[in-house]
Symmetry: C2
């Protein structure tokens, strides 16, 4: 059995902590059972493993998230990257073809697709087990999870079972139809028909899905298919697959199910009212501080407010209006000030514009032991690196030198350079030039096996 | 005629923008008539000059504020620094002796003492003119300004005239007594007796004050007096001088008079709801953003809230509880993250602790054209300076070199160094070592006239 986790999202609603390179599912704000902090995606993967559903996890995502997934989940999960953002049908089609072409899974392999970030409890994963059983027993071509609604919400899609039953059950039910985002009045009627919310969890046999995918795109190998990705129609899995299926069954789930995608819902699940450096005065009620900066935050006289600060900015919002941030965030984002990469992390400390086309940008950069930054040149900037912790190998125009705490290297524009961390390695980078943009970078191959010290 | 401005205060109530080195009176948040931003002390000095009261201004302050005063007011004001913080009587005594011994003012010179930061209008300075007249006409030994009360406040000292009069006047009245911080019921009675608030503005002849000072401390020169400063009793001018005077008169002032010493009162006078990089969503009411950081602040769903962010931290407070910050600020202050110095400014960008007694601290430093940092050594830290704008002369162990944008210098611990700015000069400093404290510094003389390039 194979499990596909869909990881997308721009994370606008959790600004300033989330950005294009760090969507909400990667924020490490939840408490794991061992007391450390974990992200939503780390929590889901831990729950999957605890429920012993499968070890075969593949994450379908975009290229920008690849590094942070590798950092947070290690190398025990497969990663399929979409060449561009389209919709859920193309993403699931691509991941299914990956299972077939790259992992060699047979047509009758059972596949479960689920979002990477629902906040749920153990029963959710038991329901996934029942979905797998239902596919095994050929209950339907497609099996969905139905979330027992708690109110007549107009925001969700509904799955309507074919016969109104009067007791909530957890056995598979046949599905008669789908209704996307009804009015509240319609939703109330749907609830009387025992309709459930569509939680975006699907189970099917691999061959069923690849047959649909191959109606649009065929290829001799996975790399070729990936190149042809734009030929898939931009359409959701619900419209392209679920609504057209000959037989659909639903396994109901009646338990905690939350989307922690806004500050309002996320703060309800935080382990403490203060994360990071902060103080709440004694006239604060139901107020949360989430502070990723070094400097402290002080709050007083606030009720139902969330204060969140990170390198990208500071949010201060009444919890019930925190969703409005998504309408403003495009005005607030300049460039990411913090990124988690395959090799480690960087944070922008300061940016100075001298008005003559010349700028300076100061970063702190930490490489993880054994990782390296690629051999590269910049055309429009010089860099000075001051090493402040750890040891590494620095390369400038092919010449290698050992660097450690206290060393300084000067990298003029147009010079080839790279660094590899022998231990965790931290340095301060001062970039100078103009324009100073992340993509003023040209990467080259470098053979680290040549390194002999 | 001589004017003494008293500049003290720790600035706790306006955290995070104020700190020990930058009290509230130096925050440049008010709009001057020419459209630029000015601080409270710059506003008062501008008003004194506009009212043409005197050109002879002396500021009595502590050593920590000397640099910022010179930066904001230039060299056209005298500065007397107290060797330690005591109270208003010692401060005024010291400044008076300075006028006598250093400036050579005669005993019959008229002196006005006032706070450096009241937020008032032109009439206030007209009243000061009337106080000077009253002393000239020998109306009393000591003339005070009485602020017409707007309500029965228990927070102020009251000046009670000797006969209850029934119409508010601006002629000098004889004073019968003082009452410090009465109950509200007592204050209501005082208002019926035409009592005024004591605004801390005093006028007298210099010889009157120096005679009182010399009861406690005498010295052959001002430097000696300054060394003996701790011999002055820790007592306020009101108790030591005003309450013991044989004759006291009061000039009433009936006009705007505010202490912009809390975020609540300060925000009422700001030229805009947003100072710095910020956005207020359309569900904000009477909310202010004051942002000295580069990254943006977004607020929504807030009413009567002030959000203030600077290198030292972030405050989010209901305006009517903003005074509580003073009770928390000692827990929040670590070291100043921004300082205005005689030679320019610095800001701490980042501080890293590697857990082995070793730390790194990154600063951006800007020297003003023509200014220099003193010739110095550090015992426990090395420094790397990357110059990012301007030109200067850098000295290391007596050897001079010209530095400009793009240059990097490495300063090991125990090595002598200094820098002088030929134009405005900006560099990024990475300090490394342990402990990293501002006072790991030993200063030496350096003869800049030797510099020949």
């Amino acid at each position: 059995m194979q499990l596909i986790l869909l990881s997308g999202g721009s994370g606008k609603r959790l600004w300033p902590l989330s950005n294009d390179a760090r969507s909400k599912q990667f924020l490490q704000l939840l408490k794991s059972p061992d007391g450390t902090m974990e992200s939503m995606v780390q929590r889901v993967v831990r729950q999957i493993r605890e429920a012993d559903i499968t070890r075969n996890i593949t994450i379908a995502t975009n290229a920008k998230q690849r590094d942070v997934i590798e950092n947070q989940l290690g190398e025990n999960v497969g990663v399929v990257t979409e060449p561009e953002r389209r919709d859920t049908f193309p993403a699931i089609a691509l991941a299914s073809e990956y299972l077939k072409m790259e992992k060699g899974c047979p047509d009758d392999e059972i596949v479960v697709v689920m979002p990477c970030d629902p906040y749920t409890e153990a029963g959710y994963f038991e329901s996934i087990g029942k979905m797998v059983q239902a596919v095994e027993q050929n209950a339907a071509e497609l099996v969905l999870m139905g979330i027992k609604p708690t109110y007549a919400s107009p925001k969700y899609g509904y799955i309507v079972p074919d016969s109104p039953i009067h007791r909530f059950t957890d056995s598979p039910l046949n599905v008669s139809r789908f209704t996307e985002k009804p009015t509240i009045a319609e939703a109330e009627k749907l609830l009387k028909q025992n309709a459930c919310w569509n939680g975006g969890v699907f189970a099917f046999r691999l061959g069923y899905m690849t047959a649909i995918a191959e109606k649009y795109v065929t290829a001799g190998c996975f790399k070729e298919l990936q190149r042809k990705y734009s030929e898939f129609p931009k359409i959701s899995f619900d419209y392209e697959v679920a609504e057209k299926a000959n037989s659909v069954a639903m396994v109901p789930y009646n338990g905690a199910w939350k989307d922690l995608g806004t500050w309002n819902t996320l703060t309800e699940e935080l382990p403490s009212n203060i994360i990071g450096n902060g103080i709440l005065g004694n006239k604060c009620y139901n107020t949360h501080i989430i502070n990723e900066l070094g400097a402290p935050i002080f709050c007083d006289g606030l009720k139902d407010v969330v204060v969140s600060a990170g390198p990208d900015g500071i949010l201060v919002c009444a919890k019930n209006t925190s969703e409005t941030i998504k309408d403003y965030v495009d005005k607030l984002i300049d460039r990411p000030m913090y990124e988690e990469r395959r090799w480690g992390t960087y944070q922008v400390l300061n940016s100075q514009d001298f008005g003559d086309g010349f700028k300076a940008l100061t970063k702190t950069i930490t490489l993880k032991k054994g990782k390296n930054i690629s051999y590269q040149i910049h055309h429009h900037r010089s860099e000075v690196w001051t090493f402040v912790d750890g040891e590494g190998i620095f390369v400038l125009d092919g010449k290698m030198q050992r660097v450690r705490r206290g060393d300084v290297v000067n990298i003029p524009a147009e010079h080839f350079h790279a660094v590899k961390a022998l231990t965790n390695l931290t340095f301060i980078e001062v970039q100078q030039g103009g324009p100073l943009v992340e993509d003023d970078i040209e990467r080259f191959e470098f053979d680290w096996s040549r390194v002999k010290l």
